[in-house]
Amino acid sequence: MCATCGCSGNGHQLKTLLPVLKPASFAGLAMDTQVEPLVVEAPEKPAVRVQTPPPPVKTLVDLERDILDKNKRMAERNRGFFEARNIRAINLVSSPGSGKTALLERTLADRAGKDRFYVIEGDQQTDRDAERIAAGGAPVVQINTGKGCHLEADMVHQAIRSLQPETDSIVFIENVGNLVCPSMFDLGEGRRVVVISVTEGEDKPIKYPDMFHTADLCVINKIDLLPYLQFDLEQLKKYGRQVNPNLEFLEVSATTGAGMEGWYAWLSFTV
């Protein structure tokens, strides 16, 4: 560990700067200079030496540290756990009400006996979604984030410690309904899935580019409602690919079950 700033890297250095009168000239001064107390001799009284207290010393600590460093490191721990157990961990993100829980309920019902599922539910309040999942028979942990608008890696870490998911299983992490904040927080998932329902408008990918940029798959839900709406599926995909040319798409209805076979096939990805 670097002794000067406590960082773990070795490229970091501590810079000590001389205190100067003008803060503007501060940055250009020589580094690593020890400031000596200023000793001033009085001309009239050579016998008396006055030692002024050492002036405050400004020290520049070169940190070069990612602000979300702590979350990223915890996410990597989660990822290591998932990979070691061959667990497919999926982070489901969307705006509120696009049908994430409905998609999971349907998946649990249709795939019962074929796959082993665990679910982590993130909501600001209530355990209503966890109750819906528990009714489907999967072990579930509800995380209430309170004012927090997204899940973070340490919350997921706690949840997997209590869930203890088995080898070869699937862990669904339903993030807080929010198309902005969850995009920045890696949870250690193997895949990120953004769910969008056809009632939301096809321009969501360019309005919320961060979320679509970081997703692996876009599940377009509620296609049973298409006959009642002006919704241009192809335009949605076009916008999505502008933000993320590698984005895959699936069209489903969690209510009627249309298109769900494609989703189940996708779920068999290798960790």
């Binding site: 200023l38 001033v40 050492p54 002036p55 010393v57 940190l63 702590k70 904040c181 502008q242 933000v243």
Partner: protein, 162 residues
């Protein structure tokens, strides 16, 4: 409002650095680098900062933010260009297969600490009653060593005069 989480992370990292140091010090300023594609609203960050640090040791700490523009290299034709949004195409060939080379940064570049002057050593030095300011009441010395007086001393002289 992930900006609050971000401020929380900045606080934790900074306080950890302060606690690791042997001398007591305060944090004068924190220098951040935030890329244009990092997903952080700078105005929100700056707006939330004073309230978020109000009850912490960083209440007087300045937050200085350097914004880094987005840069990309086209994977299809090799063109380098500035990118403002993820959906910006390559200006030469229109491709969206891009390699983002700058703009996703969200980092604490440096922290400037101020260590409080340590008290005069016990036993050593002059007895307190002899520790007078010979400059008192006199104009500051022109040039020479007197020019090296530190800001607090200048201030002290001025206060004595007024």
């Amino acid at each position: 409002m992930h900006e609050l989480s971000i401020i929380q992370s900045i606080l934790e990292s900074t306080l950890a650095v302060v606690q690791d140091r042997s001398e007591t010090c305060t944090v004068d300023s924190i220098d951040l680098q935030v890329g244009a594609l990092a997903g952080v609203e700078l105005s929100t960050l700056e707006f939330l900062w004073p309230a978020a640090v109000g009850d912490t040791p960083l209440a007087d700490t300045k937050l200085q933010i350097e914004q880094l523009p987005g840069k990309a290299v086209c994977s299809d034709c090799g063109k380098s260009f500035n990118i403002g949004f993820y959906y910006d195409p390559c200006p030469d060939c229109g491709s969206h297969f891009l390699n983002i080379t700058q703009g996703e940064e969200l980092r604490i570049k440096s922290i400037t600490l101020v260590s409080a002057p340590s008290p005069p050593p016990q036993g050593g030095g002059l007895p307190p009653n002899l520790n007078f300011d010979w400059n008192e009441g006199k104009p500051p010395l022109p040039g020479g060593r007197g020019g090296g007086l530190t800001a607090p001393q200048r201030l002290k002289n001025q206060m004595v005069k007024n």
